[in-house]
Symmetry: C3
Subunit: 305 residues, 3 copies
């Protein structure tokens, strides 16, 4: 079995942040971290991120999400899947930079031949099911990438924040946004999202086409529920065949997505990047607080010394 | 001469709805149904749908529209063509599901080798002429597809409704929207239009890029007239050469459009689809009234039994 | 060394406008026309168009801009370049139709093998640096093309005007807009910009995605400065590698851009086009005044005789 690349890098990385890792491990062991799959009906599923305290996504979550993606791909009755969160302030946020190396590198490549995270996202995009990201709170890094791989995205006007913050920390994003963002919003706005690395609120996300629409927070759940129930009442084959034809016009190939992960790994190896991530950690990255809440602001401070 | 595929399907189909067909036939024989071509000047043409009571498009209309498309393609002086309607509440709506089989299957494939409807739409997109859809009332199904194949689309803010309602009835749309919508509005919003199957008003259509702009209904005609007269005053070769270069960047190939019609035919054959269309017919589909006026609402009721 | 095509055409052209040329020449010799490169810091550069009276771009400007583009491509420290203007009412406007033939035809093809102007623009798009067009005043023709080749575009809500006016004068634009506009705003709006040839203000440019955003004029400079300083604080390799991956999804190839210049040259040769440009000249084209300020309006008058 092939395994995910980048072993030495993550080793070095986990050594660098070993003191942080200890604290995070305690949090993990004292809370229940799960990705819940709820079948509201045989055709209408809900996937809820409940990874306290911050819905940070790491190697522990990969097999959990993979199991869910496989169910979405293969179940004969499911027609629509909504992704949401029960963690206040967060939809799904960045990758776990404190994770133990072995937990990441022991993960096999996915069915597509891509690394596990881009593999799952590519499979979600092609599944014969309508996926909807219901975004309340931060969808940054992995969270943005999951939203971009979903078919539809709806955001809370007051509470959603989307971002690809990575360039601000010296990283290249790895989960497909360079392939997916320009196809949603054009090159100029995609470059602004990626190279500006700002926190983007619901209304700007709507203007740019980062989400389908932003809705008043009080209306988001009702809107998404009604849409999901509506689609769940439609014919599965009509959904699947129509989506497959849209894929021809709009899905990036796996070959186009593939180099992003390698660029992420390369960027992570650079001492300059390690220095930026270290500085973020010192400021409070990976802990509830202002750095996580305003990550776009803080990555703008790292290069000014 | 090759003929359009799908003969057996339409036969079965017309048998299913035979009782409905009788009534529709009476309407047709007692009113004048036409697609009028008016040459406002040698360079500025207007094509007006006048197919009472609902501007439903069927096999009778195919040769009428084909003649017009051929004129648009070959006339040496025409520079701009505006499509509009004289039927209150409708721009151009869905395909005629009551049509006699023989009238559809006897139609030859088009010049591109595509089926007649996608053939005409592909040729319109490539014609060395600026086509403008002036949308007041419902542009659903074929009407949306004609608008999408036109170069420019302007909508009445109060009175335009665009939709691809087909998935709601178990159908896959057949006239190109899976190829064309993602190129106008990105994958996410295109999937929402196609898989949500909702009625979409002028302002949402503008936000999504489904139309160039929505305008107050009182301003639509003046705006479109002024734009058409302006373009009619330009140089035909400059228009044609510029459009041809835009085509390279933005037109789907015929090969990409081609499978949509086959998917439509396949979807039409399914008993589940026939059941949904039957139920729509019982509710009042194909007759003036609430089902036609709020088709997006009614397709959302078909799967809840 | 190969030289730019179109020699005979420009000869005829410069003869036609010889009387105009005299006046323009006087203006040129009595003012300092330059494109200024200011290094605000080693990583943050500013390129300012100061080509009185109208920031018209011609063969004299080609080597000036080429030198700057080469510096942007090769400097190891620059991360962000802002393009702006010090000329009231103009960002950068159209090509110089009064220019001496020899000055244009003696210019060698660019490093990409494209003609000098499209060559520089293609190289700017691929440079490992974030380019930002800060648009106050008219960005028409070449100015629009430079903005479209830049990575990000921000416009003054009150003072920016973007246009591709060329079709209105019988010309096909030559600097890449047919390849670039549909990728930013979709085919329909791109065709409207190109075939409508209207002056487009900041808010419509934002709605269409012609610019990233339009901002109140009083906020434009502060916004662009802050963004440029932010990006200048990021890691150059992360910027370059991320941009390179966005290029895969969103940059037109040189082969797609190449025919635009040939189409421009062909269109310029036509007597009908020469007649339109002549008429524009008689009205005041190439001189400060209403024709230059409302070029979109005036090209709409040329064909009504």
């Amino acid at each position: 079995m092939r395994t995910a690349a980048g072993a030495e890098i993550f080793i070095r990385h986990s050594v660098l942040y070993d003191s942080h890792f200890q604290g995070a491990q305690i949090n993990k062991s004292t809370t229940t971290r799960q990705i819940r799959l709820e079948r509201r009906s045989p055709s209408h599923w809900r996937v809820t991120f409940d990874l306290p305290p911050l819905n940070i996504f790491g190697p522990h979550e990969v097999p959990k999400l993979e199991t869910i993606i496989k169910s979405i791909e293969t179940d004969e009755r499911v027609k629509v899947v909504v992704f949401d969160s029960v963690i206040e302030g967060v939809f799904l946020t960045h990758y776990d930079f404190l994770a133990k190396l072995e937990e990441t590198t022991s993960l096999p490549l996915g069915a597509t031949g891509l690394q596990p995270l881009p593999d799952m996202l590519a499979r979600l995009s092609r599944a014969p099911v309508v996926s909807i990201a219901s975004i309340r709170g931060r969808a940054t890094g992995v969270g943005s990438e999951l939203a971009l791989a979903s078919d539809l995205r709806f955001a809370s006007r007051e509470k959603a924040i989307l971002s690809q913050w990575e360039v601000g920390a010296g990283l290249v994003p790895g989960g497909g946004p360079m392939a997916r963002l320009p196809r949603l919003m054009g090159r100029g706005r995609a470059l602004e999202v990626l190279l500006g690395a700002h926190d983007i609120d619901g209304d700007l996300a709507q203007l740019y086409g980062y989400v389908n629409r932003s809705l008043p927070d009080s209306e988001l759940d009702g809107f998404v529920d009604a849409l999901a129930m509506r689609i769940a009442s439609f014919d599965k084959l009509a959904i699947a065949d129509t989506k497959r034809l849209v894929d021809i016009a709009s899905l990036p190939s796996d070959a186009e997505i593939e180099p992003e992960w390698g660029a992420f790994i390369t960027s992570l190896q650079r001492p300059a990047t390690q220095a930026r991530i270290n500085k973020l950690m010192e400021l409070g990255f990976h802990k509830p607080g202002d750095v996580e809440t305003r990550l776009g602001h803080y990555v703008g401070q790292l290069g000014n010394q």
